[in-house]
Symmetry: C2
Subunit: 419 residues, 2 copies
């Protein structure tokens, strides 16, 4: 089994405000190739610290991946320090210089000396072209170790890894292969971590080479199954057995596997059934619409959304009756249903999905506390509703509400939403 | 200046799904005490790896903080390994055992052997009580170094740090004090990283104790100023001087400082001016509305948003003329302006803000490539427009578009948007 260390470079990652999320993507991708991430390290822009971390990484992992520090400015030090640690010279890579020049010229920006430093790469490095930015990544091997350097900008890093970096690593891992590691993530919504713990109790020690992990978050509880076996075939069959057992025990609370998301699953269902949906949102403020349209090709099933924050907006745009809002309150099962029906009728879609609730921090009462959320889903025959009392801060409540709304849509389409 | 390393322990943090966000809180808090975070490390639940990381941490930082691995289950190893690395025995801490027993009994849960292991602490450790959970934290010193161990559950970690951990560290830092560290973050939108690099060229080496860092992202370029000085007063005055110099050079591209966000700044401006806004979004699919409503109290300035994904939705809801869409295209400056005016009129708000563009990955043409985005802002007298060509993937383009839209609103309100 190959071990990797992911090193995120950048002083901003040591400050409070910025999380290193690149390593989440990379850990996932490495796993697919059968490389286990053993350490993650964050280091600032201090040359000595970066050098120390790289040297140490080479002592404890066969695969090193760095993100950040490849830009044109003075605190972008990765190229220089990698060259030093690997004992290689920096040389000008002509095709990269050409690509940088073309890119800047097309954007009518000057080709400065700083920009051209991005074409300096350690000797014998394989260039990993950057189709969406200036600084390319690169890949180096030294004895039985390898190093990949990627930019810190998430979209560039992902694109480079997907288009060329991953294949380089796969090739490297293939040469060094010994043992198989498989991991499978199953995502659930509607059960607590301890519910799932109880349901899966008999599985935790069921197989020697298998481990189950639970992780609760705003999107629900994620179950991860990790298999370590000598040969690939045994690993596959143990994983298959474990996954089936987990699926039996969590039933239709399971909404996605692998890298699928709730919105991705709902999008697939809508397309498969040829259904269209309109959304009406109060407390989520556009988050449900944003998630439904984050999937490429979403115009097939989504044509509009209403963010009806005020009472007036609800009556104006969705024909929710003023007296209903007065008697039941804007945050009520009845208003949620009227919103869902109004959205559907106004948009001439098959379905209408509505959310109304109290995201806080203020606005809660004893009867209607912060976190109380009503959902409704209308089709041409009926409207069904759900209510929740979520904990968390404003953004947490909004995210949980959007997840519950999409889950209601998912269950409806798999024929399980009707009470 | 004291240096710290934050060590997050837990195999789930090495998988793809879970980010270490505890360290963001801790980095902020440490900075307030004048301790600089020099490294962050994530390690799994393997005893040897944890031991290796702790031993290494003691070699390169005076302050070590661990999160995670303090619970009652078999993979909670921190206590045991800390005791070994520090050469101390684990001893039963009676008051902690009593607290654990009381807590479990109150919740009608059994006091198991595993639960009681949480009262075993390294000899001479100072207990940091946990008012919201079972496992306490603890604090140890050894020669000129110190170690604080905290639980991994964010709410417990924060509570313990705030109530007792921070004070312990402050005391430790006071004894070891030598120098002051200040950091200030300034956020810009509208300039590239290399534009800013050029504008700030004379500042990078201007003061011995000051360092400037740049970080480009989807929200723009963040400039961080870090000051290291012997005494607090000098540090403050150097920071003030540097911040003023940076502000002069980036001008009105600077939109926020410290922990402010673009939506937070725009919300403040809207409230201060007593203005209301309605939004009309195509490619961003609700993201602008979601960001505007993410600020508590947003109902003061926001009452509705239109997610007009289809052409039909644009004509239905915003009275954008069909022939305009036919002749200019749904992604055009003219349609953006009509959307902004329509949103404003339909909502009876002071302002209307609109976004239309091509987020991709498909749908681009030679004339209108993926990443082309038109924005418009309408008031009662006029509509102003902007166009952008963003790079990145679908989500990146959507996030950049939402940031540009909010920035247009910000500039309008500071009287600088009119062409």
């Amino acid at each position: 089994m190959l071990h990797a260390e992911i090193i995120a470079i950048g002083s901003e990652l040591l400050l409070g405000g910025t999380a290193d999320t690149n390593s989440l993507f990379l850990a996932d991708e490495l796993l697919k190739i059968g490389i286990e991430v053993r350490y993650k390290t964050v280091v600032g822009d201090d040359p000595k610290d970066i050098e120390h971390v790289l040297a140490q990484g080479f002592r404890r992992a066969q695969v090193l991946i760095t993100t950040g520090g490849l830009g044109p400015t003075q605190d972008d030090l990765t190229r220089k320090i990698v060259a030093r640690v690997m004992g290689r010279q920096l040389v000008l890579h002509e095709p990269t210089l050409k690509a940088i020049t073309e890119r800047l010229t097309a954007r009518k920006r000057p080709v400065t000396a700083e920009q051209t430093t991005q074409a300096l790469l350690p000797r014998q490095a394989h260039v990993l072209p950057n189709p969406v930015g200036t600084a390319p990544g690169f890949f180096l091997t030294k004895e039985d170790r390898c190093l990949m350097c990627l930019p810190g900008v998430a979209s560039e890093m992902k694109r480079i890894f997907t288009e060329s970096g991953g294949a380089r690593l796969e090739e490297f891992a293939g040469k060094a292969a010994s043992g198989t590691l498989l991991r499978r993530r199953l995502r659930t919504f509607g059960l607590t971590e301890s519910d799932i713990n109880t349901r899966l109790a008999d599985l935790f020690q069921a197989e020697r080479g298998a481990a189950i992990g639970l992780q609760a978050g705003e999107a629900g509880v994620e179950i991860s199954i990790t298999i370590k076996e000598r040969d690939a075939q045994t690993a596959q069959s143990v994983l298959k057995r474990m996954e089936r057992a987990v699926r039996e025990r969590v039933g239709d609370h399971l909404y996605a596997a692998g890298s699928q998301t709730m919105e991705g699953v709902v999008a697939m269902q809508l397309k498969a059934k040829g259904l269209t949906v309109a959304v009406a949102e109060s407390c989520t403020g556009g988050l449900v619409a944003q998630r439904l349209t984050s999937v490429p090709g979403s115009s097939a099933y989504f044509n509009r959304g209403f963010v009806v924050y005020s009472d007036r907006a609800k009556t104006d745009l969705l024909k929710v009756s003023e007296s209903l809002i007065r008697t039941k309150g804007a945050v009520s099962a009845e208003v949620a249903q009227a919103m869902a029906q109004g959205a559907r009728q106004r948009s001439e879609t098959d379905l209408g999905l509505a959310v109304t609730g109290i995201a806080g921090p203020s606005g809660g009462t004893k009867e209607k506390p912060v976190g109380l959320v009503f959902l409704a889903l209308a089709d041409k025959r009926q409207a069904i509703g759900r209510s929740f009392h979520f904990s968390g801060d404003r953004e947490g409540i909004r995210r949980r509400s959007s997840q519950a709304a999409l889950d209601l849509l998912r269950r409806y389409m798999s024929g399980k939403a009707i009470e």
